[in-house]
Amino acid sequence: MYNILITDDSSTMRALIKKTIRLSGFQVKNFYEASNGKEGLEILSKNWIDLVLIDINMPEMNGIEFLKNIKSNELHKNIPVVMITTEGSDLKVEEAFSYGAGGYIKKPFTPEAIKKTLTDIIGEPETVDRDDGEFDF
């Protein structure tokens, strides 16, 4: 069971990501939500988090600054981080990886893209009660 922090300034996108992760079969204990990096840091300081998903383009503290903060903090630097963003240019991807991001998903994403990236980072989801392995939207 994972504690997952989703950081995105769009409540719609946070809801969509949560739903997609659930449908992918990952067993989530708690979803925490932040609308920018500052809120994300506050949540990290008070809770045990297993995985952080970060949008790059956010007000207050953007995703790259948030990522740098996480990776420069002794307590948080080992938490896996996945960037989920519209900005899929090579430069942005390289920048995110250079600061320690473990994965990168470009919007618009498919449920399969989320599942594959999360599986690469935290392992296969536990078996769920679905017989076709397909996603229903």
Binding site: D9, S10, S11, T12, M13, A15, L16, K19, N57, P59, T85, T86, E87, G88, S89, D90, L91, K106, K107, P108, F109, T110, F137
Partner: protein, 157 residues
């Protein structure tokens, strides 16, 4: 840095197809593309996002009322039980994704473009003021009763 008209229209079409097919399950085929567009049609919402870097400008997303009204429930897959969601937030995100895809496509040749944050306005209240000498590139799709249009405006400096 100069971007060709062909590249801009290609980026708009690629982004529209990718986003509207993956998120909104709409088939934006060539047949749905409106020819000779002048944006004379009525829309409901307008999303706007600015960019700067090697060139400056804005990306605008126009949608008809039905698309916006049904977007969260029917298209994004977010259900009624998800509380606190607002149409405006969803439309902002849709604008963000469309613009991000266009700018990412345009930056493939080494162009550096930094994307701003999205804003949504009702079409009736929308008043676009652009710099003289700016170039405007518009693509519109029409299908069933719905209309979607995307504009990229490049400022002259």
């Amino acid at each position: 840095m100069k971007i060709s008209e062909e590249r801009i229209f290609e980026a708009i079409n690629n982004a529209c197809k990718d986003v509207f097919e993956k998120y909104l399950f709409m088939d934006l085929s060539e047949e749905s593309r409106v020819k000779g567009l002048t944006l004379e049609n009525e829309y409901y919402w307008v999303g706007k996002i600015s960019f700067e870097g090697d060139c400056r400008g804005i990306v605008l997303l126009y949608c008809s009322e039905d698309i916006v009204n049904n977007m969260l429930n029917d298209f994004l897959g977010v259900e009624d039980e998800d509380e606190g969601l607002e149409i405006e937030d969803g439309f902002n995100e849709l604008t963000n994704i469309v613009a991000g895809n266009i700018l990412t496509d345009l930056s493939k040749g080494g162009l550096v473009l930094k994307q701003g944050l999205p804003e949504t306005t009702g079409f009736k209240d929308f008043n676009l003021v652009i710099d003289p000498g700016s170039s405007t590139y518009t693509t519109e799709f029409s299908f069933d009763e719905n209309r979607v249009a995307v504009q990229v405006i490049l400022y002259s400096n």
